[in-house]
Symmetry: C2
Subunit: 362 residues, 2 copies
């Protein structure tokens, strides 16, 4: 159990109502409490433009493979399929949403973490809105992508990418994403969820439905595609999660004229510590955000330490770094998937408030 300080709560409430009128008071009353979640009654959005495109990719040749007869539909006639030839691989899918009332000066790009797709930001496992809708509602043109090899970006054949993808069991993320200890258990009484956890555990299997296979050999091509995205649609703010930490930092280092601010949500991968790459971040506002239960975890203390150590080098090179450990400002119970936690809108507001303070939005 945790609680806001009264004054902080009122300030948050007023700010919330002022900035977007998003959340009904009945939801605010439950925010932060590990109760069954309530789908809030939200006012209508007004999105004036939606669409998508793919960026990047390269040609790859396959030769010397046997021509196969493939039955595409059981019972159908075999069709001859020649796997030899030229392929277009390693491009990336990007979907965008433009709200009628733009309040932000730049668009925001939301980049997901490992084993996931842009759906990370679109819906929570218990059916509430995600950060995608939060930023749209708060006046940001919002771009949500599926990293190379994930989701609607597609993936290349073993002839082109020899190493296989990795798959996650249902149990795996339960502890690794700091929801609780042990693994998933169908019986709520047997689940060892952290006390005060904000993760909507009743929807955990919906979260696992969002998980997709992940290659471990595609970091460089993913950075290449994100760089092409930034070249296409920025200047912008880039918000990244987990594995995306590496991508966001390296792309910002490659394109400091395009990435005007960086929000690192529990980055699990680091930027480049080479002096000229540190220097590229001179003057860039960077927010690093961490959730709860980090000290109880086997991996996150050292991962946070690694990023904070790099942050010191960024600061020495002139970057404007802020670090928010959510429990230290009274926001407790957040898992690694804080964009899905029951208080996901409260965390998004912390980020939006920081962006406001930095002058990126009203």
């Amino acid at each position: 159990m945790w609680f806001f300080k009264r004054k902080h709560q009122l300030k948050q409430t007023r700010a919330h109502l002022r900035t977007a009128s998003l959340i009904s008071l009945s939801l605010l009353a439950t925010v932060g409490q590990a109760q069954p979640s309530v789908t809030p009654k939200l006012p209508p959005m007004n999105i004036v433009d939606i669409g998508s495109f793919h960026v990047g990719g390269r040609f790859a040749e396959v030769s010397g493979k046997e021509v196969k007869d493939v039955v595409f539909t059981p019972g159908g006639a075999p069709a001859r399929l020649d796997p030899n030839g030229k392929y277009l691989v390693e491009s990336m899918y990007v979907q965008y949403f433009t709200p009628k009332n733009l309040k932000a000066k730049l668009p925001i790009l939301l980049w997901h973490g490992g084993g996931l797709t842009g759906v990370t930001y679109e819906s929570t496992p218990d059916g509430r809105e995600g950060w995608q809708q939060y930023f749209i509602r708060n006046g940001w043109k919002t771009y949500v992508s599926d990293a190379v090899e994930r989701g609607r970006s597609g993936f290349a054949s073993p002839d082109i990418w020899p190493s296989p993808p990795q798959y996650l069991t249902i149990d795996n993320p339960w502890s690794r994403f700091r929801i609780g200890t042990g693994g998933w258990n169908d019986d709520p009484a047997q689940r060892k969820q952290f006390a005060g956890s904000q993760f909507p555990a009743e929807g955990y299997l919906n979260f696992m439905r969002q998980v997709v296979p992940r290659w471990t050999s595609t970091d460089e091509v993913t950075i290449k595609a994100y760089t092409e995205l930034v070249d296409k649609v920025c200047p912008c703010v880039v918000l990244v999660h987990s594995q995306g930490g590496q991508f966001g930092q390296k792309v910002a280092q490659a394109r400091p004229d395009k990435v005007k601010a960086l929000v690192l949500v529990e980055p699990a991968g680091l930027g480049d510590p080479a002096p000229e790459k540190l220097a590229a971040l001179n003057g860039m506002p960077i927010l690093t955000v961490y959730g709860d239960y980090i000290d109880q975890d086997s991996r996150w203390p050292s991962m946070r330490k690694g990023q904070l150590g790099l942050n010191e080098k960024y600061t020495a090179a002139g970057a404007k770094i802020d670090v928010i450990n959510l429990p230290e400002i009274g926001i407790k119970g957040n898992s690694h998937m804080m964009m899905m936690d029951k208080n996901n809108m409260q965390v998004a507001q912390v980020i939006n408030d920081w962006l406001k303070k930095k002058g990126f939005t009203q």
Copy 2:
């Protein structure tokens, strides 16, 4: 080259302006001509709600496999990954869009074809809007899904699905989807595109970026997931393309109380000819739509013949069948990917007009 009959053209133009004011006259003037496409200046949409969810899926157990050390990020420390355990596989991603001004009585579900994802309906290879936006703009709550194993639905490991996916070379769809003969050629002068073709060939590589790997062993689980989708969000109208033909017909046969009308856009897979399954379609309005160049193709004459033969059985069982061969009503040049062709909005309007005539929308 083709042309509207003058009267038909005026009727189309007026209907278009009346129903949605979507297309500027300057676009209408170019519709049907194999010119470089013009991105039309469209009025703003007003989408009040967007979101997504996954449906379906099953548990699968993997056992007896070796525990591996996996380096997730090059240079990082290896993490132990145990592939044994319980997986959640074969669920399906669905994204929805609700326009402010609902004109249709029911939602419409757009199901894509083989080797593709919901992106089929979202953007054309030359950057215009797709049928997703057309139906939203015309007052339909619109659901766009990625079939099981495609896109944001994810896919299962070879331990669970032993047969591998199929991958398409750049050349493959050029002729198979009736854009032209031979294969893709980077040199426009060397491309053998059909005379009068509406496919935006200059964006062909963007179309190939939308293509994703496709399994040939997942039809049954895909039908299962679509059935769960229909159970969740219908009564509705279901519009399917190509491989989706089988899925739409079989799901309609399984849920005639939920699927109130069926639009089959060049169906490449068939429904169930069993008498009780034919009887299930008694009274159901079904529109079958075909594009151009079918007689010049090696496969499409027999695929169309197969569907039309089945349609006769549907009719005998009481279904209300309409077949539109687009060239016969003066709409020429359409490829298999008519939702991406330069006159994609004109074809969508034919479908919407049919749905209007059947009483599903104003």
